[in-house]
Chain length 229, copies 2
């Protein structure tokens, strides 16, 4: 999952989106921590392309909010202030319940079993990256029923921009808080099994809000966040 070299094969016709996807994955994976500079030529060499598709990729990622561009200066991985991060989380509180609502009717028993399994696996994991991956998997699986284009992309974007802080935050929470996360996940599954969409929406909303509140209590995350596996 840790974006390795894409090597060659320049034949498909869209190198810019490949660069964009790879760079996005790399940023989300933590290879480029927030605030780090992105040099066009470095990326171009890393992914075996010219600077033109790299710049197009950067424009896309800028629109995603993942990188910040300054004219004639360069590109940096976006660094969110505490207020901005709080804002994104408030937005997620409003939007993700809707996404769950649109998804819920299309989730069959098999999908719910899968959710249950993911929740169980999370409860037995202490590895941070594994925890993050499972958490992401869980929520995205719960949203998988929505064949939406716009809203899905929107939420994906919100997740991407906050991923570095979610990682840093995960390092901070104690066993008790983790337990609450798992309970909430199980409550989501239960609500979905009962077909009680309202309840599911409320749990998701509270789930995100609680994370937001806890993040606000750790401002140190937003001053200097570094990640090196």
């Amino acid at each position: 999952m840790t974006a390795l070299s894409a090597s060659s094969g320049t034949r498909d016709g869209n190198a810019s989106v490949r660069v964009a996807d790879a760079l996005r994955d790399a940023i989300v994976a933590g290879d480029f921590p927030p605030g780090s500079r992105i040099r066009q030529e470095e990326i171009a060499e890393r992914f075996g392309a010219s600077r033109v598709p790299v710049r197009e990729a950067l424009k896309m990622l800028e629109a995603d909010g993942l990188v910040t561009l300054r004219a004639n200066a360069g590109a940096w991985v976006s660094r969110l202030s505490l207020d901005e991060c709080d804002e994104v989380y408030q937005t997620r509180e409003r939007v993700e319940p809707l996404l769950l609502r649109l998804s819920a009717p299309h989730l069959d028993a098999e999908a719910l079993d899968r959710l249950e399994r993911l929740a169980e696996q999370m409860a037995q994991t202490t590895e941070i990256e594994e925890f993050l991956r499972l958490d992401r998997d869980f929520h995205w699986s719960s949203y998988a029923g929505a064949d939406t284009l716009v809203l899905g992309d929107l939420v994906r974007r919100l997740w991407s921009t906050t991923q570095p802080y979610r990682r840093a935050y995960t390092r901070l929470i104690d066993a008790h808080s983790q337990r609450i996360v798992h309970d909430e996940h199980h409550m989501i599954v239960t609500a979905l099994r009962d077909g009680d969409i309202e309840a599911g929406e409320r749990v998701v909303e509270g789930h995100i809000r609680r994370t937001r509140r806890l993040l606000a209590q750790h401002p140190e995350v937003f001053t200097a966040a570094s990640t090196t596996p």
Copy 2:
């Protein structure tokens, strides 16, 4: 407001964002109706630039959801299906009340007077473009207090993608529906004056939902929408 030729002056350092802004304005203004093809060279000539910044602009607008790119084929102005439009409106129902909540505390008496004035002007206008402009002005003025970066951009994007349909819809509504719109606008102002944020949120939500419902009753808007002033 109808994006004329930007002529020359290529000295500022960022031609791609200028092209992006101009093209976005042109699309929102209706110069390029949904589904119409966008040829790179045509845009390049129109704005006095090369194809490279045009392509970067197109990538940005694609991330905005305004244009749709197909590899090795070209770019088209995004055409929303009824379902997708409905989805965007549902998203707006959730997000814009939040934006109003973040904005409300920073709106002073002068700003509220301005809102009142805009609502009055709208009530006395029959011109469609003027109506749209005032409506946009009204809502954005109500959101102006929020110094948010992410959420503001997000809502701006949602407005942009739905603008063509809002225009087509405006042509369809009768005097009675218009009256309701104005009443709702006044209710928003009243709620803001009273400092009753909850009430304001509810009105905005209902305001958008009602528009969504009415749009869903006019599927013909989504089959063939053409606009020529």
